[in-house]
């Protein structure tokens, strides 16, 4: 079974619990027709204990959780960078505090079709290019997020991760953790993925809004040129 891109046998070797030769021997059994999972065969051969397997799987789950957390942290940073791209960059502070002017009484705004059609818009090519650059950045980020999500989807489910390794639960072992306990430790993953999906929805909405803006700008520019 692959966990986060690495197979259980490799994880056990990396943890110096089994040797390459021991893994090869267990694999040979599978090749010879043994249908059991590699973990069960290794336990039967006394190369590993159930505790070893649990420890390795738990460690892997912790790493997966940490990766998700780090992705969230990086996402926050990416958002700040993205915001900075769309925001003008004025120098600030050190400016004297001036009294807030009293706002003039608002006048009713004429939003009739005639009034809107008569409204003149000032646009230049730079505005359109800036908007296009903003969209391309968002699209790039959207694809990057899609790739991350796809990778996350390919991770095994918690239950299969747990049960695939301990399908039979032979008697005589003091099983250290129940599935529920195991799940408690890593169930936050789904919630975190949901948050990533929500964030993705926000990006999609932002992209749509920007696309609409660019379309409007193009139409207005074309109208202006016609005049």
């Amino acid at each position: 079974m692959a966990m986060n891109g690495q197979k259980l046998g490799e994880l056990l070797m990396d943890a110096d619990i089994i040797t390459k030769r021991q893994l090869a021997k267990a694999c040979q059994k599978q090749v010879a027709g043994d249908k059991r999972k590699i973990g069960e065969i290794l336990v039967e051969l006394n190369y590993v204990t159930v505790g070893d397997l649990t420890e390795v799987v738990m460690e892997q789950a912790k790493k997966a959780k940490a990766d998700v957390e780090k992705s969230k942290r990086d996402l926050v940073l990416s958002q700040q960078i993205l915001k900075s791209k769309t925001k003008p960059k004025p120098k600030l502070i050190h400016t004297p505090v001036t009294p807030t002017p009293v706002a003039p009484t608002p006048q009713p705004i004429d939003i009739s079709e005639d009034a809107l059609m008569k409204t003149k818009f000032k646009l230049d090519l730079k505005t359109i290019i800036a908007a296009a650059v903003g969209i391309s950045s968002l699209v790039g980020m959207w694809y990057a997020l899609q790739a991350d999500i796809q990778e996350a989807k390919e991770l095994p489910s918690l239950k299969s991760l747990y049960e695939a390794e301990y399908p039979s639960r032979p008697e005589g072992y003091n099983w250290p953790r129940s599935y529920e306990q195991y799940k408690d430790n890593v169930e936050g993953l789904q919630e975190e993925m949901d948050e990533v999906y929500d964030k993705l929805d926000e990006y999609e909405e932002a992209i749509e809004e920007l696309e609409k803006t660019v379309t409007d700008l193009r139409i207005k520019l074309a109208n202006k040129r016609d005049k």
């Binding site: 957390e69 780090k70 926050v76 958002q79 915001k83 900075s84 600030l92």
Partner: protein, 183 residues
């Protein structure tokens, strides 16, 4: 953020990758000015734009760029700019990190627009600490990690840092830090 931060990003990029790369970074960031005044306060978006453009230009994750900058800040820039404070606020990693908030309070008197983070250190064992990092800004945990690594280097060691709590999921960022003295 103060111009000295943006200026230090420029110095770091120029030192590590050359003036030509800095020009590319500047162009990619969309920032017009090439000269940053140390004591002028700039919008945070300027700094984030520079970090983002450096990340794109060098092909490094933005978090790595921030971490690298944190190390550079703590090992090169801050000791030169605030050498007296560096000497006054601790003789070792732990006491220095404990004194960071106080140091920021003092520096804030000179730089009134400073919005410093706060560091709270708990000792877990010999040279093993839990450090709580709180910042009014978002996304700067890698900068804090780099800064802590730089402080460790300043005191003749290396810091092995793992982030164990994350702002957003948790109340604030928390790091597990093992300080190892160089032999």
């Amino acid at each position: 953020m103060y111009g000295m931060i943006n200026k230090a990003i420029r110095t770091l990029v120029t030192r590590e990758a050359g003036e030509e790369v800095w020009e590319q970074v500047l162009e990619s960031s969309g920032i017009d000015e090439d000269v940053f005044e140390d004591l002028d306060a700039y919008d945070d978006s300027v700094t984030f734009a520079l970090v983002g453009a450096t990340s794109e230009t060098l092909g490094l994750p933005a978090s790595d760029v921030l971490e690298m900058f944190g190390v550079y800040w703590a090992t090169d820039v801050a000791p030169k700019g605030y050498g007296e404070y560096f000497k006054a606020f601790g003789n070792d990693f732990k006491s220095f990190v404990s004194g960071l908030d106080e140091m920021h309070v003092r520096i804030s008197k000179m730089l009134p627009s400073l919005q410093p983070p706060s560091f709270d250190i708990e000792e877990l064992g010999e040279n093993h600490f839990k450090i709580h990092y709180k910042s009014p800004r978002e996304g700067l945990a890698p900068l804090a990690i780099g800064t802590l690594k730089g402080i460790a280097q300043h005191f003749g060691g290396e810091a092995d840092i793992k982030q164990i709590e994350y702002k957003g999921t948790d109340d604030h960022d928390v790091f597990d830090v093992q300080f190892n003295e160089n032999e």
